[in-house]
């Protein structure tokens, strides 16, 4: 569900304890970063964000328009609606808002995580995340 196997395993092991939220921070000089973010949000409009999110992570960097439309089919989306949303850049404002938030937080790389506001940069090992999450759950119980 997340980025990489560590986050996937955390979501499984801490079922009900973790809420994962995704913000878009596409790099402007990569060809398909923006359009892939549009694809994820277009899928979200049809209630299939996670299906598309997983496919995009798995298939990256094959993220050209035709590939995205193929992934929409695989995710069981209304392809016509999806393609219209993609071509119209319907979610450009949302993506821009996320990017501005990233800038305000001084983020210049991906992925970056905030675990109850605590910053973790890059794909870390499972144990690294686990330590922070265990601390947060312990704090919650106090």
């Amino acid at each position: 569900m997340g980025v990489g196997p560590a986050v996937d395993k955390l979501l499984k092991d801490y079922r009900g304890k973790i809420r994962l939220v995704v913000k878009m921070n596409p790099y402007k000089y990569r060809d398909f970063s923006h359009t892939a973010a549009e694809a994820a949000l277009a899928a979200s409009d049809q209630g299939k964000f996670w299906e598309m999110h997983q496919l995009l992570l798995k298939k990256s960097p094959q993220l050209d328009r035709n590939s995205l439309i193929k992934y929409a089919q695989e995710s069981g989306l209304d392809v016509k609606r999806f393609t219209e949303s993609l071509d119209a850049k319907k979610h450009a404002n949302t993506i821009e808002r996320d990017k501005q938030l990233a800038i305000s937080l001084d983020l210049y790389e991906t992925p970056v995580f905030f675990i109850n506001g605590r910053k973790v940069t890059g794909n870390r090992a499972y144990e690294y995340f686990k330590k922070i999450i265990d601390e947060e759950i312990k704090n919650e119980k106090r």
Partner: protein
Amino acid sequence: MGDHQIKKGKPMKKFFVLIILFLASSLSFAQDKRYEAPVGDSPGYGQANAPVTMIEFIDYQ
């Protein structure tokens, strides 16, 4: 004379241990800095009232 010097050394050792402990605790404070990142209407997975909220900023490419 030699005994006297050893006894003198012990409090110094304790002092250094204290300084190291102090530095270590202030370092962990630095890592505990919390940033304000609003969830907003971004896509999410899991319960909204979960004790841990993990926000990820990603680039698919």
